[in-house]
């Protein structure tokens, strides 16, 4: 073991330089060619587009005039991601889900209980899920139409426009980016 210790230390140093230094630098250099230079894709919004958010980071949408995003165990804290980690039979958790269903029904009187998609009352894994299924957005159209005074037809068209199809229509799931959708909603006349 004694005559192995120096080779081990020196080889570790070489690897440290190579894998932490050179590999990282190479990936970083490539990243400079990506959108926003590897700092994360951003979308601008607000008056004169002064504010921005990250396209992939979900935001909390709780106001009735917006499409609600999914419940989050960390309240969309993007500096401390996390899921609820509640087991499927945890009584306290099931009461919480029940309460979310009841709240949703109060705010969306036109919706029947068996139409509520499960992702609207369950917390995502990251707590930052930027998406909804198209169904979970569609079910909120009635409420938004009423509050904003926009016809349901136009809202459904908007939703259709912002629905991302599965890859080649065959692989994966349909999604709607809630931030994109709500920005477009604010821009509707």
């Amino acid at each position: 073991m004694k005559n192995q210790i120096f080779p081990a230390i020196l080889l570790s140093l070489c690897c440290l330089v190579f894998f932490c230094g050179i590999y990282t630098a190479a990936v970083w250099t490539v990243a400079q060619a990506s959108s926003n230079q590897g700092k994360g894709e951003i979308i601008f919004y607000g008056s004169n587009s002064q504010q921005y958010g990250f396209a992939n980071i979900g935001q909390a949408f709780t106001a009735d005039k917006y499409f609600w995003s999914r419940p989050s165990a960390v309240n969309y804290n993007a500096a401390g991601s996390g899921g609820s980690n509640k087991g499927p039979g945890n009584p306290e958790y099931l009461l919480q889900v029940q309460a979310r269903i009841d709240t949703f029904l109060v705010h969306n009187p036109a919706v029947k209980r068996d139409q509520i998609p499960t992702e609207l009352v369950t917390a995502s894994g990251s707590g930052l899920d930027p998406h909804l299924s198209p169904g979970a957005a569609r079910i909120q159209v009635d409420r938004i139409a009423k509050i904003r005074g926009i016809s349901k037809e136009r809202l459904k068209n908007l939703l259709h426009k912002y629905t991302h199809k599965p890859l080649f229509d065959v692989f994966g799931v349909e999604t709607v980016n809630v931030l994109e959708l709500n920005i477009a909603l604010d821009q509707m006349k």
Binding site: F19, G40, A60, P88, G89, P117, P130, V170
Partner: protein, 564 residues
């Protein structure tokens, strides 16, 4: 057919299509034959050997291999403790994160040198960028060390009598530079162009559309995410691992990250076939592993897509499946696929929260880790499978009344003793650890480390030790595990569970390599047949069922019946 299920099938087929040529390439690398990357890496490796004063032509015995492996791991241990306990004072810390406590640094260092990547911390708040990059170094070298011992096994299984089994440093360095690095680089490039950050700037502060101020963690994530998938490490950049929308932004990245979980582990099986010129043996091993894997996978996909029965009773629409802890962009089928792959292969990265899986899916993830040989971790999965083969050869020998032989070498008392001890270690560590923790929490309910009551709380502890002992690293993350008890007990278990299952099989293979080679005859048990494959599968099923059924009955099975 459902688009989610189609994409699962596609991912599995692409994995196989990539693993076979990769296996051929790996076999060439370990056999020392020329490959197309020689131009780049020959000069670099030469420089490394020269600087480190290593003679890469020196042939080592199995004992010398193990000494070299253990020595370099001791160096890595001290380096890790040093960095993690001082990262607050070191550069590249724009978010001002603090140094780790000694027990957390102990756990984290061991976790990364053993290729486990159990994380009792959350990356964005507990590590500086310097700390993250150091851990990335371990993700390369721990995977490389695992693959190096697989290469020693390859060398020992050849048809000859010899104690010279190649050079450890050469196997190790080539695994890192010629296999892990190129694949990681390709994956990292795909990630940065899909929106994964790769920056040294700190947190950004934004105002949300609703007008709230939110901080967003970033960092040099893409480089680390690539190797944590490729090297079956699993230790993510962000706290929630690949469920995080920056760590895994869309369908494409999820597919690429999913494919890279088992890719090299499967390729190593085919590499064994090419290396030994026994392709049928490789296909037998691959078939047994795949059957076992599918037995875990199919019910899990079915259960997750069917939803949580307790929520079904509330009368809402669960067509998207059980969505607690899952992301919409992946859906329940792809999340289930990831959950099973990551546990079968000792990877431990997650794209959904396993704590919120429906009860029997949780059981299948635990089974994957308890068997730990269906594809398995980098190199070590094959070593674990080798132990099962040795046991199956022995039992078959007893059944037909012949001296057990494997690849022309007689298996005798000493080898069998080692094989049994290695097998028994895994249930001993898992069940012993869970029993002690259960007793502790019973005596001190005020420790309050469980996030869920009842059977599920028991499953949280069982899962944690299963994950530690399988060197997996995923968790039922509700468990409050950043306490001295969990940090130290899991640290010790990871250490034992990494090195004993390397030492045992290498010792067996080394001892067998020194024995006289007996050419195949009419009386030889043929290892590359379907019959023997069924035998190995039966041995695995019986041994694992006997060891773990009672514990699983107390946890996930009891939970299933309580909410069904």
């Amino acid at each position: 057919m459902n688009t989610e299920v189609i994409s699962v099938i596609l991912i599995l087929l692409v994995t196989l299509a990539l693993a076979i040529p990769l296996g051929k390439y790996i076999a060439r690398v370990y056999a020392g034959e020329s490959t197309f990357l020689d131009v780049v890496f020959n000069p670099i490796e030469k420089l490394f050997y020269k600087f480190s004063r290593i003679d890469s032509a020196q042939q080592m015995t199995w004992k010398q291999h193990l000494v070299a492996l253990l020595t370099i791991n001791i160096v890595w241990f001290f380096l890790g403790m040093l960095v993690l306990m001082n990262q607050g004072r070191l550069p590249l810390n724009p978010d001002g994160n603090a140094s780790m406590s000694p027990d957390l640094a102990f756990n984290t260092t061991i976790s990364f040198i053993t290729n486990t990547n159990l994380q009792h911390y959350s990356g964005e708040s507990a590590l500086s960028y310097f700390g993250q990059l150091t851990l990335m170094f371990y993700q390369f070298v721990s995977a490389g060390a695992g693959m190096a011992v697989a290469a020693v096994l390859f060398s020992a299984l050849r048809e000859r009598t010899s104690d010279k089994l190649g050079n450890f440093y050469e196997y190790f360095l080539k695994s890192c530079t010629r296999i892990l690095l190129p694949i990681s680089f390709i994956v990292a490039v795909i990630l940065v162009f899909s929106g994964t950050p790769m920056t040294f700037e700190g947190k950004d502060t934004i105002t949300s559309l609703q007008g709230e101020t939110v901080q967003v963690s970033r960092g040099p994530a893409a480089a680390m995410i690539a190797i944590k998938q490729v090297g079956t490490n699993g230790g993510g950049y962000f706290g929630v691992n690949s469920a995080h929308p920056l760590e895994n932004p869309d369908f494409i990245t999820n597919s690429v990250e999913t494919i890279t979980i088992p890719l090299i582990s499967i390729a190593l099986v085919f590499a064994l076939g090419y290396y030994l010129k026994r392709k049928k043996l490789a296909w037998m091993i691959f078939a047994v592993m795949t059957v076992g894997f599918l037995v875990c996978l199919i019910p899990t996909i079915y259960l997750e897509m069917n939803g949580n029965p307790a929520i079904s009773r509330m009368g809402i629409d669960q067509t998207t499946g059980s969505m607690e802890g899952k992301e919409v962009r992946f859906g329940s089928a792809a999340s289930a696929l990831w959950a099973i792959l990551t546990t079968c292969t000792s990877n431990g990265s997650v794209n959904s929260m396993h704590d919120s899986l429906t009860p029997l899916s949780g059981m299948f993830t635990m089974l994957g880790m308890q068997i730990n040989a269906f594809y398995g971790g980098k190199g070590v999965g094959l070593l674990n499978f080798y132990i099962f083969i040795i046991i199956a050869v022995f039992i078959s020998g007893l059944m037909v009344g012949r001296t057990p032989e494997f690849l022309g070498k007689k298996i005798e008392v000493r080898e069998m003793k080692i094989a049994m001890l290695v097998f028994l270690l895994h249930p001993f560590l898992i069940l012993g650890g869970t029993a002690m923790s259960s007793y502790l929490i019973y005596l001190h309910p005020d420790y309050a480390w469980l996030n869920n009551p009842g059977y599920h709380g028991f499953s949280e502890m069982l899962y944690e030790y299963t994950s530690a002992s399988a060197n997996n690293g995923s968790g039922f993350e509700g468990l409050g595990d950043n306490t001295p008890w969990w940090n130290i007990s899991c640290g010790i278990i990871m250490l034992l569970a990494r090195f004993i299952p390397i030492i045992g099989p290498i010792a067996i293979a080394g001892i067998l390599a020194e024995k006289k080679y007996i050419p195949e005859s009419a009386g030889t048990l043929k290892a590359d047949t379907a019959t023997f494959g069924v035998m190995v599968l039966a041995v695995i099923a019986i041994l694992v069922a006997l060891s773990f059924f009672t514990a699983l009955a107390l946890g996930p099975i009891a939970e299933y019946f309580s909410i069904a």
